[in-house]
């Protein structure tokens, strides 16, 4: 946690120091984003079967990271903003993962292995 001693009192005219991102950086990121958009659109016409979706999502994550790190300044502002974002994405992951753990396993058969049914009687036999 940042700010371990609480914010010290200073008068309201305290200078605000902020990292100023050069225009060239913004333009580079912008061009990269356009290239990645063209890439993901083009890749849709390549037959990769199930991997089409994976590739598309990976590219989307890259684009999102570029926006987050540079346009939203997360690269330059360390600390809580990163934690907030990571936590939100992680929590969404919990929702998706646990819901899928139900939806995708609903039709799993309960087939105990042949020897599994023998375990409990064996224990009883050994103990009593």
């Amino acid at each position: 946690m940042s700010d371990s001693t609480g914010h010290h009192a200073s008068h309201a005219t305290h200078e605000v120091h902020e990292h100023i991102v050069p225009v060239s950086t913004y333009v580079t990121i912008f061009v990269s984003l356009l290239i990645l958009t063209a890439l993901t659109t083009g890749m849709a016409w390549v037959d990769m079967g199930r991997w089409n979706l994976v590739v598309a999502l990976v590219i989307a994550v890259c684009k999102a990271l570029l926006v987050v790190l540079f346009f939203m300044h997360v690269k330059y502002n360390k600390g809580l903003s990163r934690i907030a974002l990571v936590a939100a994405v992680f929590w969404l992951g919990l929702l998706i993962t646990f819901t899928l753990s139900d939806e995708l396993t609903r039709h799993w058969e309960i087939n105990p292995l042949p020897w599994a049914g023998a375990i409990l009687p064996m224990f009883r036999h050994l103990i009593f």
Binding site: M1, S2, D3, S4, T5, G6, H7, H8, A9, L80, A87, A88, W91, L94, L95, F98, T99, S101, D102, E103, T105, R106, W108, I110
Partner: protein, 550 residues
């Protein structure tokens, strides 16, 4: 203001009336346009009290109906609307905002040494959003209510119910934004506005609890919002993602609903636990046992609460494998709560204990919450839940935690901080009497329901087999005692506003920054920003109580 000649002054109370947040400005506009977190807390207190009465009336009618096996008062269709109204109003419009929006709003800036919350205008906006949602819900209730249960399960709620599900869902949707704004405000306030010297580990445990609660507000509430939004769309378009005709899965609704609603129950109990930590230390005049354990257990509860929602769906058709995982995790979530109970008990040990009303509520909480929590373990077990799900055992379980826990903590906290909020003392004899009546009434109402559930009486039924009548009558009788118990504090607390003895800054001799400032506080809380130099709950340096101990 009453003349000082005829009103008692507690020792330590100022001789002359002082300027404070209540008398700094007068008039309806100064309240409706206030940016003061303390006034906003009181606005919330008024609103949730109204909703509590509405939910309580629904409960009264339900318990009256259950006096007879064939239903004594209403038709089954009406009974369905009654339990739905009771659930929706009590959960979304009373319990979820209760301690956070009232005591949280009032106390957080005071406890951390700040002048206000980070975003006062958003704070006021959150109350207006909440009040709008309440008005909408009251309109729904007045025009016939809904009969879906507070859980709004599809496809009944989305396609088949003839009641106004759309507006009820919208009321919950709108109310959710009030929670989100409150949570945002608290997170930023606690991170950024602590006074100099107020490190994280010097914070009162109420703040830790409120912080953990705010994390849940922020992460869980948006999911219920989108779920209600989708339900609203389906009601209007007559087609949607929960529509079975399109292959929609009713269980998906339940997953999304409970992803919020299980953490929501921790929204309801975590702040209560924070209050109890404050009460136990103040009335045993002793440093809390295991401060960091309690602090971290609040965070642990907040995190683990998101991993257990499937335990509401064990018998709904959910996969057995998912059920296994949720069951194990549900056992895990009990551990941090148990840690707190152990630590509170250890705090009491060798403490200098007194039995004022707030302490009675706190002690009652520990016992009743423990019962409620332990019965949760029966329900976390897949094998027993199969038999107990859908019965009164569940009803008793959650009422022990919600009413025996959360409401008792709210009452205890209101009494404890009443002198700070109003500058007046209430008559402690009546307060202790009311606490006792509430405790007895509560147990008479809800303990029989454990037995009824165990014996197999289903919940949400307007009628029941004749052999259950005795226990039902006992439960309804208990409810009438409980109702009386809730009315008594309303009377003496309102009485105290004009006629109670004037309180000093620290009637209980408690530790905490809120007790270092006048009662009631100034609008900007402190004359000078406090500087914190000692650990929390350092009762060795605590002042003597201004009122005699009991």
């Amino acid at each position: 203001m009453s003349t000082t000649a005829t009103i008692d002054h507690a020792p330590g109370a100022p001789a002359e009336p002082q300027i404070n947040y209540l008398n700094a400005r007068y008039g309806v506009r100064s309240w409706l346009l206030t940016l003061d977190h303390k006034r906003i807390g009181l606005l919330y207190l008024g609103t949730i009290t109204v909703m509590f009465v509405v939910g309580g009336i629904a409960a009264t009618m339900m318990r009256l109906n259950l006096l007879e096996p064939q239903g004594a008062l209403v038709e089954p269709e009406t009974y369905n609307k009654l339990f739905s109204t009771h659930g929706i109003v009590m959960v979304f419009f009373f319990l979820v905002p209760s301690i956070p929006a009232t005591l949280g709003n009032f106390l957080i800036p005071l406890m951390i040494g700040a002048r206000d919350v980070a975003f006062p205008k958003l704070n006021l906006l959150s109350w207006y959003i909440f009040a709008t949602a309440c008005c909408l819900m009251l309109y729904v209730v007045a025009t016939g209510g809904v009969d879906t249960g507070w859980t709004f399960y599809t496809p009944y709620s989305s396609l088949h119910s003839h009641t106004d599900v759309f507006l009820a869902a919208m009321a919950v949707f709108i109310g959710g934004f009030s929670s989100i704004l409150t949570g945002m405000n608290f997170v930023v306030t606690i991170h950024k506005m602590r006074a100099p010297g107020m490190t994280w580990f010097r914070l009162p445990l109420f703040i830790w609890a409120m912080y953990a609660t705010s994390l849940i507000f922020v992460l869980a509430t948006p999911v219920i919002a989108v779920t209600m939004f989708l339900l609203m769309l389906e009601r209007v378009l007559h087609v949607g993602i929960f529509d079975p005709a399109l292959g929609g899965d009713p269980l998906l609704f339940q997953h999304m609903f409970w992803f919020y609603s299980h953490p929501a129950v921790y929204i309801m109990i975590l702040p209560s636990m924070g209050v109890i930590s404050e009460l136990i230390t103040a009335f045993s005049r002793k440093k809390i046992f295991g401060y960091s354990f309690i602090a971290f257990s609040s965070l642990a509860i907040a995190v683990i609460s998101f991993l257990v929602w499937g335990h509401h769906m064990f018998v709904s058709g959910q996969s057995v494998y998912a059920g296994l995982v949720f069951s194990v995790l549900s056992f895990l979530v009990a551990i941090p709560s148990a840690v707190k109970v152990f630590n509170w008990t250890a705090t009491l040990y060798k403490g200098s204990i007194s039995y004022e009303a707030p302490m009675l509520y706190a002690l009652g909480f520990i016992g009743l919450f423990t019962i409620g929590g332990l019965t949760g373990l029966f329900l976390a077990s897949l094998a027993t839940d199969v038999h107990l799900n859908g019965t009164y055992f569940i009803v008793a379980h959650f009422h022990y935690i919600m009413v025996g826990g959360a409401v008792m903590a709210l009452m205890g906290g209101l009494h404890f901080w009443w002198p700070k909020i109003t500058g007046r003392l209430y008559p402690d004899l009546w307060a202790r009497f009311a606490a006792l009546v509430i405790f007895i009434g509560f147990n008479l109402t809800f303990f029989p329901q454990f037995i009824l559930g165990y014996l197999g009486m289903p919940r949400r039924y307007a009628m029941y087999p004749a052999e259950f009548q005795a226990l039902n009558v006992l439960s309804s009788a208990g409810a009438s005692v409980l109702a009386v118990g809730y009315v008594i504090p309303v009377i003496y607390l309102i009485w105290s506003l004009r006629n109670g003895p004037i309180a000093g800054p620290n009637p209980w001799g408690a530790k905490g920054l809120e007790w270092t400032t006048q009662s009631p506080p100034l609008t900007e809380n402190f004359v000078k920003t406090p500087i914190v130099t000692e650990e929390a709950y350092n009762y060795e340096t605590a002042p003597e109580p201004e009122v005699a101990r009991v």
